[in-house]
Symmetry: C4
Subunit: 205 residues, 4 copies
């Protein structure tokens, strides 16, 4: 299977997943005259929407940065990529859980943030496994991008799942702090000048 | 990253977002024999569907008109485009809010129309930022379309967010007037002969 | 705008719309031990799913048959195509209405079938308008397919919206008869050997 | 119609269907403090998500393996492919039914697993019909892949629907055993080294 087709299917899944994120933004049944108030109290849904949208957008950018370096797709790459997509397509669920509980404090908010962190750590892990497989199978890479560079990409990808994994612990201190951390990591990745830095994004290439 | 891939992903998000608009058209639970009546009372949902569908369609047309002039995608363009998609993918929510309240009059209808107007103004603003970046970075443009033309496109894009921003004020007079305004702007853009006019569409290129 | 891009976006909308049809197939809350019974009583949902899926599939086939004959897209074609997509993307709603009422008999079933018929007639009408525009603007057509052939395609498209329009009347006799008619039209179109016949499908090319 | 377009549309439907699978993972309304407990009790939803995601992923791989051998699309192939897509796009429903009942034991769990098995057997059957048509119409195949090879692909596809069909019987012994069987078949197909085996996957090429 050539790269083009795998990328087209992956783009499709990412485009659908990113667009479905809005469905967790939902008004409860309201008595007349309470719309403004209810819209205001949906802020955790807006924040979760923006953060998850940015993260899936970054994943899309990193996914392309990876597959621009791939010339041939083997069976392992194919199914590791499906595992990555399985994680991203699952994201609307932890996003909804986070949006529904982050502002409530207490045990439920901690659990919600931990679930979100764990999902992101899992997605980051599939990126790690993808780079490891590419580093170990340089015959899959395009000319001019060798095993050394794939290993370097692997190392640059490590901080992502590590930070997200560590944020499972942070979740038990404060769910809001987790949300701020996710947003900060996305902003850090998106800001211009990033190319010159080492970036602890979920899946920096 | 080349233009083709960014456009394919954007087309995917726009195609999903436009097709999800129908989900706000929903019947409440009904006693037998009330279907005709209930379908008739869904007119705000039909109107919101048609208006939002036309607007996303116009955004798709304008998005292509812009990226047909782009030869190279830089990091800023990439993330400004993601911001645009974040706005459009959010549209099903204000569409549902508008559909649920525009006909009720009173404070809730004003709030609903203001939220819709603000979302559209935000989307228009991302178009403005995209053209400003292209005008300031002419190296991204295709041959034969220079900074001057990008600045002209920027100026033609200004009325969109301005009108939508002003309609936030109109929302506090009448939500229905806002709906008529949105529809009127879409029709004005769609009507043949538009090329010869200056068009205050959300994101006229 | 070139044909390729319009087709890619249309394919996206059609693929999303056809896949969303399954969401009207839904179990009500059930007491334990009633699943088999409840699944059996969902037959109107299965039937509506199959019929709408087949119809959108046929629309996709006809859409390609049309745009394979188009070399250049003008503004009118662009927005007539958006009107067609607006109709198809709306189809999950009348499909759900039909599935929810076709088996109940009485006024509600008649209304539900009439709404479905009217939507299909509207979609068929946009196909008619597209062929009429192509017949009137032969400069848009590919070499070897002229105005005469576009007019012939227009004439072959007439029976679709006419039959669906007439089925609005049939709806007031029997909703089930309408469902059988829709299914029969789809089967008639799909059956091998169809090329040799004149086909009253919603949008036969 | 050329293969490219049919594949693009099929990829779109498969990408949407696979991404919609997450919607059956849903929390019921909860009293405060019960989130961790409720998330734990959603395990049948997670398991069904993973199994259905893997199966649709495998179907996507097999679909490409088939159409890489197809040079020309005829009308029969077109509509058999639509039947295959109709089955896959329906999968979110039996997945939700399975997730909602597999852990409950009793008649409902048996029915749920039987419905899932029957859907998968149906999808496998469309793969069989596709290969049979290709074997009978070798003019559709690419050079270097003849009727003999299509017949071999047909024979390798037989175990899939047969095993799924047989699992309808297993469903009446234990729904959980069915879930384990589905997962095992997916793992067996995905594991490296599979090329060297005969694989009873739903639609092994």
């Amino acid at each position: 299977m050539d790269t083009r087709r795998l990328e087209a299917f992956s783009d499709g899944v990412l485009a659908v997943a990113i667009t479905l994120l809005v469905f967790q933004v939902e008004l409860p049944p309201l008595p007349p005259g309470h719309l403004a108030h209810a819209l205001f109290h949906l802020w955790p849904s807006y924040a979760s929407y923006v953060v998850s949208f940015a993260i899936v957008g970054i994943i899309w950018v990193n996914h392309h940065a990876m597959f621009d370096r791939v010339a041939v797709v083997d069976r392992t790459l194919l199914f590791l990529n499906l595992a990555l997509l399985m994680g991203v397509a699952f994201l609307p669920f932890p996003t909804a859980v986070l949006a529904g509980h982050v502002h409530k404090g207490g045990a439920d908010s901690h659990v919600a943030a931990a679930v979100y962190s764990a999902t992101m750590a899992g997605i980051g892990l599939t990126f790690l496994l993808l780079w490891r497989h590419l580093a170990a199978t340089p015959g899959l890479l395009v000319d001019g991008f060798g095993a050394d560079q794939a290993r370097a990409a692997f190392r640059r990808t490590v901080p992502g799942p590590v930070i997200y994994g560590a944020s499972i612990g942070l979740a038990y201190l404060s769910a809001l702090a987790c949300l701020v951390l996710y947003a900060g990591m996305a902003v850090y990745f998106i800001l211009p000048g990033r190319e010159a830095r080492e970036v602890p994004a979920p899946a920096a290439p």
